[in-house]
Amino acid sequence: MRRAGRGAGTAGVSFDFDRVVVDDVSRHFGRRKALNRISLTCRAGEIVGLLGPNGAGKSTLLSILSTLVAPSTGKVLYGDRTADDGGPALRARLGLLGHDLYLYPELTARENLVFFARLFGLRETSSLVTEALTRANLADRADDAVSGFSRGMRQRLALERALLHQPRLLLLDEPFTGLDDASGQALVARLKGLRDRGSIVIVATHDLDLAEGLLDRLVVLRNGRLLPVAPSSASLRDRYRDTIQAVAPNASTTDGQRGAP
């Protein structure tokens, strides 16, 4: 946990929330419905797995949760406030690791992290960045340009970028891409640590092996709709397969849950 005095500085405005409520959210791109009447609640201290085939709407949902994309209908509540109400103070509590890693290839690993730390108004930037580089196993490459990094190294760096300001809501889109086994396991341990400290973590992934044992709750999307997930003690892979196979293509339920996770 970061020491006191390093938090995101957003002109002194603090904003905290213990749940995120997606309320009947739809999103259209032209005539295509990317999301269709999604309702979902995520609570503090919870890791929610967002699964589904390609094009199911997972990335769109993460973009809406990150406030980058506005829903066509419906609303998202962070605590009891919308994205418009939250503004910069809300963004100070959001972390996003997208498909694209949001890193500047011309800058070094250290310069990238320093830039984002300053952008978020963090204090003690130098030590904060050094710690992050050590956690990412990039201390020895800290002053190398990111353009020379492998995908896995960039992924580790991008994860540290997303976590620098210790977000309350962490949104991860395919976070295991390019990671080797050790890095994948380290990420799993890191996410569990964040959950234990009360963060809300939403992970969209196809890596069911690494996600097994990580997720507190499973949400399955297909064709922009939530599918109901039956409670079961079966493996994540089996539950996902059963959910996809069992439900008609247009089925949808609130929260995508029939009962317990």
Binding site: T10, T67, V69, P88, D100, Y102, F116
Partner: protein, 228 residues
């Protein structure tokens, strides 16, 4: 306000550092602007005598063309890495990002103009230094007017498929008043006796355009950048 300016400064400094590493945009933009002026020089200078009153127009056309190229490349870089989205996630007023990008663009155009003005002066026998204060005022206000709208449009079009075509198509009609004021003001200063009252008038008009364009850009940047 302090936080706003801090973020704008951080974004501008980042753009500067990135550009210093690659030097891609500054080299291509300056080379393109110089090529434009050379082409006009070949066409409009006969036996060492340039066409009368051509210098002012050529200077501003070269600035506009080079500026469009620079705007496109600056935002292409952010699009390629999707880092514009990361900037939009910063916990600050989003117009601060716009101001940071605008400052970077102004710095780039200042470099371009530092090359263009003496070059046009030499090739077209134009006395740009006859009234340096008003020349500088016209260049500064005209560049701000052009870059303020250009930065907004380039950011807005960053995800459009035909952005390279759409940027000039949208930008030039809107910035025509700025270009005209810049050309007329500069032409007034390049006469055998510089007409400073006329240059003052066109500078005042450019300041008016700047206030309108910057205000509108700050006002519309956040809604335009949220994917609604």
């Amino acid at each position: 306000m302090k936080d706003f300016l801090r973020v704008a400064w951080i974004v501008m400094r980042k753009d500067f550092t990135v550009e210093m590493r690659s030097r891609e945009i500054v080299y291509t933009t300056v080379f393109f602007a110089a090529s434009c002026v050379l082409v006009f020089a070949f066409a409009l200078v006969r036996e060492g005598r340039p066409l009368e009153d051509a210098a002012a127009g050529i200077l501003w056309i070269a600035i506009a063309f080079a500026g469009t190229l620079g705007l496109g490349r600056t935002f292409e870089r952010e699009r390629h890495t999707e880092t514009l989205r990361a900037l939009m996630l910063a916990p600050s007023d989003r117009p601060a990002i716009y101001v940071g990008k605008l400052l970077g663009m102004l710095a780039l155009l200042a470099v371009v103009e530092a090359v263009l003005v003496p070059m046009v002066g030499l090739l077209f026998h134009a006395p740009f230094l006859a009234s340096p204060f008003w020349m500088l005022a016209l260049l500064a206000t005209g560049t701000l007017g052009f870059a303020s709208v250009g930065t907004l449009f380039a950011a807005m079009l960053v995800r459009a498929r035909s952005r390279d075509v759409l940027l000039p198509v949208l930008l030039y009609p809107i910035t025509i008043p700025v270009i005209i004021a810049g050309v007329r003001g500069t032409a007034a200063l390049l006469q055998s006796t510089p007409d400073e009252p006329m240059a003052r008038f066109w500078t005042a008009l450019l300041i008016f355009f700047d206030v309108v364009f910057v205000t509108l850009s700050l006002w519309t940047f956040e809604p335009l950048m949220t994917e609604s």
